[in-house]
Amino acid sequence: MIRKCSLTKLNDFFAAIAGDKTLYIPASDGAGGAVYKKWDSNTQYLDVLNTVKSPKDFFFPHTEDLMEFKVKGKNIELLDIRQESEDFVVFGVRPCDVKSFDILDRVFLSEPVDSYYASRREHGIIISLACSKPSETCFCTTFDIDPTEPEGDISAWKTDDALYLRANTEKGEALMALVEHLTEECDDAPVVAQKQNVKKILDKLPLAGLKLDVFGKGKTEELFDDPAWDTLSEACLGCGTCTFVCPTCQCYDIKDFDTGNGVIRYRCWDSCMFSEFTKMAHGNPRLTQKERFRQRFMHKLVYYPDNNDGLFSCVGCGRCLAKCPVSMNIAKVMKKLGGEK
């Protein structure tokens, strides 16, 4: 069943949710991009395709304190310093980004379960938003994601005059109850019309024909020594832009911060593109950028599928295409290794 909320009531809609739970919505970052901001009555919703950083921050933050060690005399006290998570709502998550949560779940929620991540997932409620204007950098359909039919606790479609909502889960149903007075039952014709329009655009997307044939489970030996890695990686600067804007990159480092009388142990995102990423006691097995570069794409297109029933760990959001300083990205890698270019 679908309900609609007039866009003239959008602020009331946000207020009704924020009155009960912390709400985050895409807003201007002041520099031409979008960022998820905590809603208050001054927060203006920004209707953009994608935020610069993906919403993975909500469940797997860029930095996060794990525990604290305090030295008292000859004793070391161990403190669990995590704050109890409260329910929160994220509005406007695009279909690709919603799918990225499944990919992260398989990493963090398989045994041993990451309790920090699990707690946030449990408390997070996702209102997804179907795409109405895909970008030329979009290729989510390559990974069988339908940008007109987003997953999430509530699926939403935004037309020129209304927000159409459909609850998919119990969490979603409960949230819909909060906004019942602002919404009304309705016909889904405008949603169907939007879907049809977007599908026409999808066929015209420059990356619509991107192929996955040569990737997936068991392809390591065929691809690992492909000479194309040399040319693909030659311009790579070794920065972490692609990994830090990526919704599915999940690698992290755990480090200690010296507080003067103890240690705060925290974790922060790491990047396989960084030269120290695989540094071990004996040295570093990945000596050049080629090996680091290869790792990132092999992980997404071969290793992750190897370990996860063939599921690829890319959702085609296009962030790396838009942001790489040298414009090298997974689409170019897929075409080159796939023999297209």
Partner: protein, 331 residues
């Protein structure tokens, strides 16, 4: 539109390659779209004919690549440099970062490069194609029925609007006409920030730098950042950091980096071009350039090979540190 046609560059590249004068060519490779060109090493004639591009989207400065590419190559490398790139080239030579004998430089005039972010802000998302015209670009998008005419000036990168020089300060061969050092307004924005109250200025930089995701792209692209091992990547340095511990640390990273490249930064603007968060990092560097000019007299890093930057040079007439602290300058 660029004054020199792509075909002229291609002909020179192929002729130098075929005659054996160079063994490889550092140029721009066509991407998936019209704007996403990638720096590339070409060694094959057909590859050059098909994929070498020279257009309004060739912003990348190749000078820094010469540090690694000359080490990896036995033969000579042909590199195409825009005027601003030649300043970085000279600065790297001043710092003995590569062997000049292994490089053949062709200087190419530049009419400025397009900032794709500005282009998208103007014509919308879904860029499909762009055709250069005399005055600008004819752009088609997924959502426009007719091509949109875009005035090139309205989408040029900030560093190109405030271009400091269309003159090449290094080359073995020049294509087209040599340009002049420009009357640039590049310090206007710095002056505007200087005029702020300390609180306003702090708020300005806090707003900008709080967006930093510490990807290190600014550092990794910077031709003045060629340390074999950056202190921020070195776990034994004690300051290695992959992510912000707190906001104070975050701000320190960029200011420390600006200090480190002060006097060596040529103001090529690559830091701001690559920043995924659109932080105007070049303004920090320009502040130092402006101060150095004021305290020690005009100095342009990279203008000539071997020049001594004021910060590593000593004159009896130099300002005392206290003069600087109290805001006295030579002007």
């Amino acid at each position: 539109m660029q004054k020199i046609n792509r075909d002229v560059l291609i002909d020179r590249a192929i002729s130098l390659l075929n005659s054996g004068q160079v063994s490889s060519v550092l140029g721009w490779r066509q991407g998936e779209f019209f704007y996403d060109v990638t720096p590339a090493v070409f060694t094959d004639e057909n590859d050059i004919r098909e994929n070498f591009v020279w257009n309004d989207f060739c912003g990348a400065n190749f000078s820094k690549y010469l540090v690694s590419k000359t080490k990896a190559s036995d033969g000579k490398i042909l590199v195409f440099l825009k005027p601003c790139d030649t300043y970085s080239f000279n600065q790297l030579l001043t710092e003995h970062r590569f062997d000049r004998e292994k490089v053949y430089v062709i200087g190419i005039p530049c009419e400025g490069m397009v900032d794709t972010g500005k282009l998208k802000a103007q014509v919308g998302d879904g860029l499909v194609s762009a055709q250069s015209t005399e005055e600008g670009l004819l752009v088609t998008t997924l959502y426009s029925d007719e091509p949109v005419n875009v005035d090139i000036k309205s989408v040029l990168a900030e560093r190109c609007i405030n271009c400091k020089s269309k003159k090449h300060v290094a080359y073995d061969e020049l294509l087209g006409d040599e340009g002049q050092i420009e009357d640039s307004d590049r310090f206007d924005e710095v002056a505007r920030i200087e005029a702020m109250s300390p609180d306003e200025r702090f708020a300005f930089w806090q707003g900008e730098l709080s967006r930093c995701i510490r990807c290190n792209a600014c550092r990794d692209v910077c031709p003045a950042c060629t340390c074999e091992k950056c202190v921020f990547d070195n776990p034994v340095s004690g300051v290695e950091n992959k992510a912000p511990v707190n906001s104070f640390e975050e701000k320190m990273f960029h200011i420390i980096r600006a200090f480190h490249v002060a006097g060596r930064c040529t103001d090529c603007g690559e830091c701001s071009r690559v920043c995924p968060q659109n932080i105007p990092l070049h303004l920090l560097n320009r502040k130092f350039i402006k101060d150095i000019n004021g305290f020690y007299g005009e100095y342009q890093a990279g203008e000539c090979v071997g020049s001594r930057a004021p910060l590593v040079d000593y004159n009896l007439e130099d300002l005392e540190a206290s003069d600087v602290f109290e805001g006295r300058d030579t002007q």
